[in-house]
């Protein structure tokens, strides 16, 4: 329940209504053309470019008084930038915030998709540093725009071919390119390729904001999203030999933590809410402690 913004002299969610309208128009265009990068008049925000201003502007464009917001970075709610962004929205909107994925209506994320499947009515907002999938191969914006318009994506497969010729496998581990709705080549932001399959046919709305590069794109609910590969070198996600040391999960993305100077290490779920939830349900890994049920 909304306590109201605590900051004086600013509009709800910081941006003025005209700007929010401009952003929503861009979002509508993006949803109408899945995977297509829509230019928008990104504003200077009180956080620096490169630190999530695109995601923040998208969230500011869609957030309402009755929303519940979750913000994560690297899958965790308590990393410093997630804390900072969550605090920003708390101050400027007064909306409830949460760490629980299932309770959130809007989830703003950097570099991860939550492990827990998202549902109809939820919105996932991704922070994007470089929106253009062809940027490394072709630095010119005028040329990449044409390539998208004419569906000239051969050069992307050349890169994958080269990887296989050189390394015996496709060497991209994050920000792995996908084709959306069978048409546009898209960068999903630096999420690990482990998360790519979650984007396919997701019941939630996925919005992508790049503030510095001034682009918004979207994947509407239940849209086809395919990661690029070759027929004989199909797309594969990462696997670990270990399970989460705290909750024992076998199916989540694991962070490596260095324990001591002798190379001792352990692995734990990157998604902190997922891990805590499992522990509260009694799943305890070798290094975990029982959690009180929430």
């Amino acid at each position: 329940m909304n306590q109201g913004p605590t900051i004086e002299g600013y509009n709800f969610a910081y941006l003025d209504e005209q700007t929010k309208r401009m952003i929503r128009r861009a979002i509508l265009k993006a949803v109408a053309i899945p995977g297509f990068q829509v230019p928008f008049g990104s504003r200077e925000m009180p956080l620096p470019y490169g630190w999530g201003t695109g995601g923040i502007q998208v969230t500011a464009g869609v957030i309402g008084q009755n929303d519940t917001l979750k913000v994560i970075d690297q899958g965790a709610d308590d990393t410093t930038n997630a804390v900072s962004i969550r605090g920003f929205f708390a101050r400027t909107t007064g909306v409830s915030t949460t760490e629980r994925t299932e309770d959130a209506t809007i989830i703003q994320t950097r570099h991860r998709i939550p492990e827990r499947a998202l549902g109809k009515g939820q919105i996932l907002v991704y922070q994007v540093p470089i929106p253009e999938p062809l940027r490394w191969l072709e630095p010119r914006e005028t040329e990449t725009r044409k390539m998208h318009a004419l569906e000239e994506y051969g050069i992307m497969h050349v890169k994958l071919y080269e990887d296989i010729a050189r390394f015996g496998r496709i060497a991209t581990s994050y920000d792995y390119p996908v084709v959306v709705n069978g048409r546009y080549l898209m960068r999903p932001s630096p999420i690990p390729k482990f998360d790519n399959p979650k984007m396919h046919n997701m019941p939630a709305l996925q919005l992508f904001g790049a503030g510095r590069e001034k682009r918004i794109y979207a994947i509407p609910p239940y849209t086809d999203v395919q990661s690029l590969d070759f027929e004989d070198y199909p797309f594969e996600i990462q696997t670990w030999d270990e399970n989460c040391a705290l909750c024992g999960a076998e199916d989540s993305y694991l962070d490596e933590v260095i324990m001591d100077d002798h190379g001792g290490r352990m692995f734990m779920c990157s998604d902190t809410d997922y891990c805590e939830d499992r522990r509260s349900q009694g799943h305890i890994g070798p290094l975990g402690t029982p959690q009180a049920a929430e």
Binding site: G41, R43, G50, R112, Q238, T272
Partner: protein
């Protein structure tokens, strides 16, 4: 047993408190006032206004104080504040012909109508650290002439009268774009390019201009005219139907005279570059004029040889708020992506070791 470290929120709060302490410094020393910054560090204020795209000396001074003197940080503060300001009107173009000049020089003529007026410039100072400034003291009075009444004729008008220089005219009837409202779109019109340069980082634009002088696409510049002074800002609200002056601002304007060019239809003429900044930011106005002209290389049929002539390169990398954000974002956690890379490298190494092992059998 491993305990995950929590408390990012507290850490951030404490970091902010520490920052405020550092900003204040030794409390035995008098606190810096906004007025002091405005008066005695006016060139810093000018730069922050120019690149912050906001003319307000008090706010710029506040930003400088809050930023502990880091001008890029101050520019960022001013830009973020600008985002929240409502728009009432667009002014008419300022009339620099009617400038009340504090300074006006030309390198292309020894003498010209209106004269060479040096104004408050570092140009002829000897760069010797003045230890007298460590103490506070009285200053000798400077001799200043009466401000002139007539308009100062432009050097470019003088050249124009003899048809020696290209005329600046709009190439279309499109309304002027606003780079602070719309994203950059290439190819960019001259209005957008000039806006981008005006708010671009002085160091970057200076380096680009410098590179063109050193041969990375030289266009033989001459400083046709530099004028610095006060101009009126005029709006014409629809309800009134007549122009209204809302105040004066100080600007510096630079017009460069560059390499001449002819076509089969027209005899050769000098070409131009244009620079404009708030306050006395003269170096910025000059650098901007150099780069403005360099970016017209393709339009003027010149071979593109250096980055200053590459519009996409200049326009995309000139904004220090964007650049600073992205460079510094590397400090944010990247451990999830890095984990992916670690795993990739480990696997590749294992596969290669396996290959060698098999080959050895």
């Amino acid at each position: 047993m491993y305990v995950a470290v929590k408390g990012g929120e507290k850490a951030i709060e404490n970091a902010h408190r520490l920052l405020a302490e550092k900003r204040r410094g030794d409390t035995a020393v008098p606190e810096l006032t906004i007025t002091q910054i405005k008066e005695q560090m006016s060139l810093a204020v000018d730069r922050v206004m120019t690149e912050g795209s906001l003319y307000d000396r008090d706010l710029a001074a506040l930003a400088i104080k809050q930023a502990r003197g880091d001008l890029m940080e101050a520019i960022f503060l001013l830009r973020a504040f600008r985002t929240t300001l409502p728009r009432f009107a667009s002014s008419k173009p300022i009339e620099t012909t009617k400038i009340k000049a504090h300074r006006r020089i030309s390198a292309t003529y020894k003498d010209l109508p209106g004269g060479q007026l040096l104004g408050p410039t570092f140009d002829y100072t000897h760069r010797l650290l003045d230890f007298a400034l460590m103490a506070e003291g009285e200053l000798p009075q400077a001799e200043v002439c009466e401000p002139q009444d007539e308009d100062l004729p432009r050097v470019t008008s003088l050249l124009n009268a003899q048809d020696l220089i290209e005329r600046e005219q709009a190439t279309d009837d499109e309304p002027v774009s606003d780079l602070t409202r719309e994203p950059l779109d290439l190819p960019a019109g001259r209005d957008v390019r000039l806006q981008n340069l005006a708010r671009g980082d002085e160091g970057f634009i200076l380096a680009m201009g410098y590179s063109s002088q050193r041969g990375y696409g030289n266009n033989h510049p001459f400083a046709g005219e530099i004028r610095m002074g006060d101009v009126e800002v005029v709006i014409e609200p629809e309800e009134l139907g007549f122009p209204v002056s809302i105040g004066d601002i100080t600007v510096t304007e630079c017009e460069m005279v560059n390499q001449f060019k002819g076509t089969e239809a027209e005899a050769p003429k000098f070409t131009r570059g244009y620079g404009l900044s708030f306050g006395e930011a003269e170096r910025k106005a000059m650098a901007m004029a150099l780069v403005d002209r360099s970016m017209r290389a393709e339009e003027l049929g010149e071979e593109v040889m250096g980055p200053a002539q590459d519009q996409e390169f200049v326009l995309y990398h000139s904004d220090n708020v964007e650049a600073s954000g992205f460079v510094q974002h590397l400090k944010l956690p990247h451990y999830v992506d890095f984990q992916g890379e670690l795993e990739m490298v480990r696997n590749l190494r294992a596969e290669q070791a396996e290959k060698f092992r098999k080959a050895g059998e």
